[in-house]
Every structure is written in structure tokens, then in C-alpha cells.
């Protein structure tokens, strides 16, 4: 059973040099963040995740490192499995393996990778997760699926963590059900069916009521696993401020949701330190959500809250 203690991650969007990225990783560690996450897109200015996380792990001692999240369609799962097992081995077991079905239309178009309909991408992701887990386990592995064919392969190296925590996030029933069955960490995210993370459709899928519904989907699919799952949210809007109202009105206006919804929505943490702490406790109460990931731009302003809640 998961203890629901709070922990916090930092999603990296910076890292313009060896020095800057090294300092970011060490700072995240020293401020008490649990995990540094690196996203996986072509079109944004992101570092390549497996490489960047390897560097981050090498320059820290305890910081966990996570992919946020790997687009399954970008690499063959056998290639991914080996890179991730290597990362886990050489970080002494600090990997969190975030993987998703792939969604960002621009990535696919620019790189000339076929963008199949969501159902196909999710089915392929499910196969990939089976393969990666199979290669992490002892002994040779064979899998002949719809999308991949792996024959008699003993995945090397084996990861240190048994099991490596998988992180799967999403905003729609199919993907959340897959997460509930396969992952240790479930990300309760926006619905990204539009292919655009900032669309009104994505924003409306993040209201508290929509979140209730998602947690319900997770619970239904997880059955008796639900208590073992760690539930995570990506908090894109962190404002430590005495004037929450003004900021929340701006967010509400921009995304077409009510101010009250914006106040409680998982992607928003707006208010004084005390208000944010209270809000995080409410979210844990209501949704069992205990793992929150902020953008690296907020690493300092959010640090006092991490100091108060991490491990509590």
C-alpha cells in the first residue's frame, strides 16, 4: 500500500549548458525535490531525455531521474528498454520510467513518423510496456504482438530496481486504465486528444469535476491495485502570491473555466504558502494525489512548500 506521503518533482525545460543543467540537478536535490524529469519532444527546446537524465544522475547522489514522458513511437521498445535499464543500473536505481502513447502532432509531422489514431497508439504502448517489463525480468523473452516481434532476447543489462517504477499519465479512460493496470505512478493529466497541450479542450479536461471522473476511471481499472498506486499531477501554474484572486481570474479567463475551478484544478497552485499547503492537503484528501511536479522556472518559489511537505 502506498503511504501517500508528499513528494515533488521538477520538470526541466532549461539546461542550455553543462554548467546550467548540472546546477539545476544539484539544486533540485538540495532543495528536497524528489525527482528531476525531462520531457521528450522534438519541437520544443528540450534536451534528449535519456542523455540528460544520465548526466543528472551522475552529478547527484540521491535525486531520482524520470522521463516525462517518453513518446513510445519514437523508439523501438527494445532500444528503450536497454537505455533505461542502463540508466537505472548506472544511477544505482534512481530511474522513474515515464512513458506515453505519444500525442504531439508537430513531433510526428516534422520527423515523418506516422501518427496513428489514439486507439492504435495506446495498443502499441501497451505492447511496448509488456516488452520493456519482459526484458527487465530475468531470462530470455519472446513476444509476438500486433506491433512488435521480439524473439528470444535476454534484455541486458538488468535494472537495479525490481521493479522499476513505471509512470503512465493521461486524461482519457483508455490510457488511464492502462496506467492503472501497469504503472506504479499514475499521472492525472489533461486530455490531449487535440494534439495541443494548451487548447481549451485540454484545459476543460482539468476541472475538479473532470478530475473526480478521472480518478474514478483509475479506481475502476486498478481494482485492488488502487491503494498501491501513487497519483501524480503536473502543476504548470505555480504562483506564490498574496493576491490569488487576480491570478486565478487571469487563468480562468484564458482557459474558459471558472475561478473556483482554477483554484482547485490540479495544474494550478496559486496563493500564499499556507494556502498552497492547504490546497495540496485537500487534493490528497480528495484524490489521493501526493506527487506534484512543477516546472523548473518555479523551483525557487515553490521550495518553501517542498520544505514543509516533502515526506509528510
Amino acid at each position: 500500500m502506498h503511504d501517500r506521503r508528499f513528494r515533488f518533482g521538477v520538470a526541466c525545460s532549461k539546461g542550455r549548458s553543462r554548467q546550467e543543467f548540472t546546477e539545476l540537478a544539484r539544486k533540485a536535490e538540495s532543495l528536497g525535490y524528489s525527482t528531476l524529469f525531462v520531457p521528450d519532444h522534438f519541437v520544443d527546446h528540450d534536451l534528449a531525455p535519456t542523455v540528460a537524465l544520465a548526466h543528472a544522475a551522475a552529478v547527484t547522489d540521491d535525486l531520482r531521474v524520470g522521463t516525462f514522458v517518453l513518446g513510445n513511437d519514437y523508439k523501438h521498445p527494445v532500444v528503450l528498454a536497454r537505455e533505461l535499464a542502463t540508466l537505472d543500473l548506472l544511477s544505482d536505481g534512481r530511474l522513474e520510467l515515464g512513458i506515453g502513447a505519444g500525442w504531439m502532432t508537430a513531433d510526428y509531422e516534422k520527423a515523418g513518423i506516422p501518427l496513428d489514431r489514439p486507439g492504435v497508439r495506446i495498443a502499441r504502448l501497451a505492447e511496448a510496456i509488456t516488452i520493456i517489463k519482459g526484458l527487465f525480468a530475468p531470462g530470455p523473452f519472446t513476444f509476438h504482438g500486433e506491433h512488435y516481434r521480439v524473439t528470444d532476447l535476454d534484455g541486458m543489462p538488468k535494472p537495479v530496481q525490481q521493479p522499476v517504477p513505471f509512470f503512465v499519465g493521461g486524461g482519457a479512460p483508455k490510457i488511464l486504465a492502462l496506467a492503472a493496470r501497469e504503472a506504479q505512478i499514475v499521472g492525472v493529466n489533461a486530455n490531449l486528444r487535440s494534439g495541443d497541450g494548451t487548447s481549451p479542450d485540454a484545459a476543460r479536461s482539468m476541472t475538479p469535476e473532470a478530475t473526480d471522473q478521472k480518478i474514478g476511471w483509475v479506481r475502476d481499472a486498478a481494482r485492488d491495485r488502487f491503494d498501491d498506486l501513487e497519483l501524480q499531477a503536473l502543476v504548470g501554474f505555480v504562483y506564490v502570491t498574496d493576491d490569488a484572486k487576480r491570478i486565478l481570474e487571469g487563468i480562468a479567463d484564458a482557459f474558459g473555466v471558472s475561478v473556483d475551478d482554477a483554484r482547485v484544478a490540479p495544474p494550478c497552485l496559486v496563493g500564499t504558502e499556507d494556502e498552497i499547503v492547504a490546497s495540496l492537503e485537500e487534493r490528497r484528501e480528495r484524490w489521493q494525489m501526493s506527487y506534484h511536479v512543477i516546472d523548473d522556472g518555479s523551483i525557487d518559489t515553490f521550495a518553501p512548500i517542498v520544505a514543509r511537505l516533502a515526506g509528510k
Binding site: G15, R16, S17, R18, F21, T22, F42, V43, H45, D46, L47, A48, T50, V51, A52, L53, A54, H55, A57, A58, V59, Y74, K75, H76, V78, V79, R82, E83, A85, T86, L87, L89, L90, S91, D92, E109, K110, A111, G112, I113, Y148, R149, V150, T151, D152, L153, M156, P157
Partner: protein, 309 residues
Amino acid sequence: MKPFRFGVQVSQVGSASEWRDKARKLEDLGFSTLFMPDHFGQELAPLPAIAMAAAHTTTLRVGSLVFDNDYKHPAILAKEAATIDLLSDGRLELGLGAGWMRTDYDQLGLPYDPPAVRVDRFEEALHVIKQCFTGEQFTYHGEHYRITDYASWPEPVQQPRPPLLIGGGGKRVLSIAAREADIVGINPNLRAGEIGLEAAKDSLREQTDRKVQWIRDAAGDRIDEIEIQMRFFITSVRPDRMKLAEALAPTFGVSPEEALESGAALVGTEDEIAEQLHRRREKWGLSYVVVGDDNVDEFAPIVAKLAGT
């Protein structure tokens, strides 16, 4: 004539601390570069491992020997390579090949296309990767890859790009390498899909002479910019080299003297090996010497003597 430098190809590591110590040791001993292969047997994945080796060191160069083009989309590989180059402050050497190891393809369920197709695809990938390294937006619609309005990020620290290392044993790949690469690796011809007797025989002196000629013919004026590299598989620092040569000779089907001159062998006392390397540099232009992980200690005095000269 290029100064000598030395690389070590490492494929297995037990733990995080062992890896850190190994990288630092190679740096301390004066080796230029830590290379990792890219296969699906006992080997670690090269990318995260060399990224970590670079993080643990300050001057050691890190590289792939070599990435198999068929395992990844070239735009992804380019981004990963540029990220290593950025986070290592410009210490990547990007080794690329068209792919050859049959067992990898079978185990992954990847089609093992005829060599000509793999090499065609490889040439397209090279074009894509070079474009990615410019950081400029580009479009490329080839037979195998379709890139549209894409600008890769980050830009590598080394400009115009991290050194490209292309190795091969056949005329076509070596000619591509001579035209496109900064480092040309002379390998046995691996058309059989495995390292066996055919590959061993293809590394004899006469065959190596011929490969060097292909490189010179294709390189033209570029020849002076290119570093020639060889990965030595039969390596031993020892006093009685003829004894080993006599044992090897029947396998190659040549005399013991000829076995010693094989492009895959580096056997003898420290002085004999140094003399042999000088001769090979004179004759083949070979200046970049790569040995295996097991040879690090015995080769350290040779590295101390020759590196940078």
C-alpha cells in the same frame, strides 16, 4: 601526419561506481576516448553510459563505436548526440554505421535488408543528422526519411558538428566515410553478419592496403583532414610475439609474420608495438588506435609514450 591518440572500447560495466572509476582512470592514463558499441547482447546501452562517463570527467572524449543506424530515427539520434555534446562541453565523437549484426535484427524483429538498402538508408540518415546539427530549419524528403520544416535543438557545442566517425570494410561504405566523415574506421568486411573467419581474413595486410586505397581515392583533397582509426581485436603486450603469431597463423591461413601484420593485430613488446604503430601510420595513415577494455593496463605505457606525438 596526425598525432597518435588512443581509444578504449568498453561494453560491460557492473555498477555506477565502477563506471565512474573506469572513466576517470582512462582519463588519467591519457586515453583520448571511451567508446561503446551498440548491440543487444551483454552490452549496456551506449547513450546513457557515455553521457555519464562524460559527466564524471572533464577532458575524456566519449563516443559510439558505432551506433547502428537502423535502431533509431536519425532526428532522434541527432538530438541525443547534440545533447551529449552540449552536456559534455563538446567531447562527443559520433560513430555511425549502416548496421550489420544479424542477431540484433532478428531479436528485435527488424527487417535485415540487403546491404545496399541499409547503406542507402544510412546515407540519407547522414544527411539528416548533418542538417540537424546546423540548428537551421530544413525539409528533406528521401526514400527512407521524411523530415518537414524541422529545426533540431540543441546545437552541438563542437562546430560545425561533433566529429563523425564512420567505419566500414567494403568499398562503398569506406568511400562514403572518406567523403563524409572526420574519422574513418577501417574494419573487417562484415557482410556475413557476424565476426568470424571471413572477417578475420579480411583484416590482413593486403586487404587493409586495398581499403586504404579506397579511402584515398574517395577522399581526394579531404584526406589530410581525416583521421584513420582501427579497432584492434588481437592485442597483447608480451615479449615472445612469434609464439602467439604461430598459434594464430593457421586460423588466418597465412605465415606467422603475416598474421602479426594483420590490421586486427597489435602484438609484441612495448617497443615493438610502438615501432609497428609508427610504420602503420606511415603506410596507412593510421593514427587513432582503439583497443579493448582488457588491454587498458598493458597499453597504458604505450599510450604514455605515443599519445599526442
